[in-house]
């Protein structure tokens, strides 16, 4: 094998800028002529593609919500609509999560908290629900807009539990605390990813008044995700919260407040 030819001496070994004859240093980068080239510096991956992906992902979910509402307007039955909406949201979320599947699998592998942590989440779920219910009640008192039952009581308790306490926590945690939070946290501070994912979560409920309740809820679920680096605690808290809402609609669990 022939030895490699020496690098041309009229070019800087570090930045390849042309050298002036007789110069001791490169005029462009300050590298000393004759020294070995420095090791290449590691380059951080660009942030914009990930942020853009998170934004597009949000807009796709928003589009799914709009399609659901249009289906409601054209008179699709309530039960058909409910599972169609959930299925569309789940498919969109799953497709969107393929890109960062390795990170997401890691979030499912960890339990997040020990038994005591989960017990604390369970204990906090009732007061959290009461605060949300109080706000909804206050809106009704002020504007007579109704409490708008979120649940579909009347289809059998099994379906109610599935579509209120199981699918929304699983899909929404994956979408907001999974895809959006994870993508943003790669490049932003953790608190920024937390705040943005909470706003995305709240806004996708398509109601300005509910921002008041859903931004704090999103912050809480996101905090659980950041703290435990797992999606399970958020799913648990979310399922319990929705469970209280369902229980309120079915049997009423807020007697002290005169609802």
């Amino acid at each position: 094998m022939e030895p490699l030819p020496p690098p041309p001496s009229d070019q800087c070994a570090a930045c390849a800028a042309p050298l002036r004859p007789g110069a001791g240093f490169c005029g462009q980068c300050g590298h000393r002529v004759g020294d070995a080239p420095p090791p290449p510096r590691p380059v951080a991956p660009p942030a914009w593609p990930d942020v853009r992906y998170a934004l597009v992902f949000y807009f796709v979910l928003l589009g799914v919500q709009v399609v659901t509402m249009v289906l409601h307007e054209v008179g699709m039955g309530e039960f058909t609509l409910l599972w169609t909406a959930d299925a569309l949201l789940a498919v969109a979320t799953l497709v969107g999560s393929i890109k960062i599947r390795a990170d997401l699998v890691g979030l499912y592998r960890r339990g997040g908290f020990r038994v005591l942590g989960y017990a604390a989440i369970a204990a906090a779920s009732y007061p959290a629900f009461v605060l949300v219910a109080l706000f909804v009640h206050a809106l009704d008192v002020a504007f007579h807009v109704g409490r708008g039952a979120e649940t579909m009581v009347g289809q059998g308790i099994g379906w109610n539990i599935l579509f209120v306490c199981v699918t929304p926590p699983v899909v929404e945690e994956l979408a907001f605390r999974g895809v959006i939070y994870t993508l943003l946290a790669r490049h932003l501070h953790a608190w920024e990813a937390l705040v943005l994912s909470a706003f995305a979560f709240a806004m996708l409920h398509l109601s300005v008044p509910s921002l008041v309740t859903h931004v704090p809820l999103g912050l809480y679920f996101g905090w659980l995700r950041g703290r435990g680096r797992s999606l399970w605690p958020g799913m648990f808290a979310h399922a319990l919260h929705n469970g209280w809402v369902l229980a309120q609609d079915v049997v009423g669990v807020l007697p002290p407040f005169g609802f």
């Binding site: 240093f25 914009w48 919500q65 002020a142 007579h144 807009v145 920024e192 705040v195 398509l206």
Partner: protein, 196 residues
């Protein structure tokens, strides 16, 4: 150009003295970097001004819409009142219960309440947009992302209630969305440039 450290002559575009190796000017990278930051800040500032404009427009249109809707709802209530005038209160409430699930008084309060709530929503949205325009100077990335998501979501929600709203000021909406999206991109790049 002469080197202030050793007195050797350097070409005007050289960032390091070819004789002593000390830094004597901005490198090509630094100049590019500076220009990129300047451009990013300009885009962010444009988005900030748009946010102020959108906040004020939301207030003005919210108040105008309130008075239009209010007179429509009062007209409607007047018409219904004339229709049910000959019914007894019990008959009236029974008819309303079957049609709307509410008593007459509840239905009237509901219709009036919705108009008031929409006014408050629009006033609150205006406050949020103006608040975000201040927040842009503190944290451009977070503020512009929230503004972009909020603006597009409000367009979508309004269109769901009334598809005609989609066409209202459609060019203005497009311009604002593009300005906000490019401000988000600029904020991401400015942050990356600042970290480098």
């Amino acid at each position: 150009m002469t080197c202030p450290h050793c007195g050797a002559t350097a070409a005007p575009n050289e960032a390091f003295c070819p004789s002593c190796g000390k830094k004597i000017g901005a490198t090509a990278d630094e100049l590019r970097h500076e220009r990129a930051l300047e451009l990013a800040h300009k885009k962010i500032e444009t988005a900030r001004k748009w946010l102020i404009a959108v906040g004020i427009m939301t207030w003005v249109s919210g108040v105008a819409f309130y008075f239009i809707q209010k007179s429509q709802v009062e007209d409607e209530i007047g018409k219904v009142e004339a229709q049910v005038a000959q019914l007894s209160p019990e008959q009236r409430d029974a008819a309303f219960k079957t049609a709307t699930g509410m008593t007459y008084a509840e239905a009237v309060a509901h219709d009036r309440g919705q108009v008031t709530m929409l006014l408050i929503i629009n006033l609150a949205l205006g406050v949020i947009y103006l608040g975000l325009s201040f927040a842009v100077r503190k944290n451009a990335l977070v503020a512009t992302v929230i503004a972009l998501l909020l603006f597009v979501t409000v367009i979508a929600v309004s269109a769901m209630f009334d598809p005609k709203t989609l066409a209202q000021g459609v060019y203005l909406k497009i311009v604002f969305v593009v300005a906000l999206a490019s401000a988000v991109q600029a904020a991401v790049q400015a942050r990356r440039a600042a970290a480098a």
